[in-house]
Amino acid sequence: MSVAGQLTPRVVLYEGAGTAPWAAAARFELLERLLARGYSVSRATGPGGVPLAQGHGEWVMGQCEQDAPPGCRDVRGWDAARVVGMIDAEHAARAGAAPEDWTPWFPVIDEARCTNCMQCLGFCLFGVFGLDAQHRIRVESPENCKTQCPACSRVCPEAAIIFPQYPRSPINGDDVEASHAAREAIKVDISALLGGDVYRVLRERSARGKTRFSAEQDADKALEERRKCLAQMAAAADIPPEVLMSLPSPAEIRRRAEEARARAEAARKGGD
């Protein structure tokens, strides 16, 4: 299921006219708890502050006095745990789920750097990338991305793919120029070790293993061979071993790679 269009529930802590402000420590505790549960929170202190109703999954609450605005729920005297408990219960009743149940790991395209070369589209086996109506590359299915796997950022020739939650530059969004040398080193290492294509290497190694071991009927050795290859790739491209180990069968990898390549090819032709 696509995550696009799923709304993040939002809580408005209203502290404008007709309400008494929270004490700073109480406000902080409430915000921290709500954020830890995945809610968005607006603190609105009055005119010029955050507008109230936005029309979706929202709670507006305050320490209301007599002339509090209509729709503002009075939580005077409630501690943070009680407020969060109430919102959780109401949210579960409305949506049938906790507010956060997906780890947001996915590629983000720096459109100022991207040349629309389609390398990423042709590389990813999981259908993360797609094209928009103008035939420009876009991230179509972020939820298909494998958590902690930054492999596509390593194949992008322009360093245009960012994983904001990655530990190192420039993949984390840091300035590319400043770390250009490091980026080049990464490319060299990968191509030296893998010939630039982890999936192709995987297929070839698997195919070699298959031929050799189908004669020997030695499944354990075949698996060991695959593991060794995967470990090498994991180290070179920073791909988590569990991602590589969970890749589909060599035949399925070949099928998906062909499909991805055909999509990229068609996209290039379509753009001509």
Partner: protein, 137 residues
């Protein structure tokens, strides 16, 4: 009178790439101030979901964002279908800046836009197909 900037704080709840002591202190100081602000658990998640809050903030006038690298934040908003204005957006980076600097910048009514400087336009994105062949063969 110039419009005061809206403030957005990202709690980086999933990856925790922002040092916990920095984000906690920034949130604490925002709470202790008299300012209105928006706080989100995880800006990355909102971008993937194309949450309308991003569009409202991007279209809502001057904006200061406490999150991570400006380049990441800029293109996260774009992924969320919310183009940030170069002239009206300032991003504070809690991954590298100390909490007092982030707080001081967030609560300063003056805006110091910092998205434009990082642009490095390439010719191909809107003209297609200039890059090398795909790696799968």
């Amino acid at each position: 009178m110039t419009e005061p900037p809206h403030l957005l704080y990202c709690h980086c709840a999933h990856a925790r790439v922002v040092p916990p002591e920095v984000k906690t202190e920034v949130l604490r100081q925002l709470c202790a101030s008299g300012a209105s602000f928006e706080a989100v658990a995880d800006l990355c998640a909102l971008a993937a979901r194309q949450d309308p809050l991003l569009r409202r903030l991007a279209a809502g006038g001057p904006l200061k964002i406490a999150a991570c690298y400006p380049r990441a934040v800029r293109w996260l908003f774009a992924a969320g279908q919310a183009a940030l204005s170069e002239a009206r957006t300032e991003v504070l980076n809690m991954r590298v800046q100390p909490a007092p600097a982030v707080v001081a910048a967030m609560l300063d009514p003056r805006l110091h836009p910092n998205l434009a400087a990082m642009d490095n336009p390439k010719p191909g994105r809107d003209s297609h197909g200039t890059g090398p062949a795909p790696m799968t063969s």
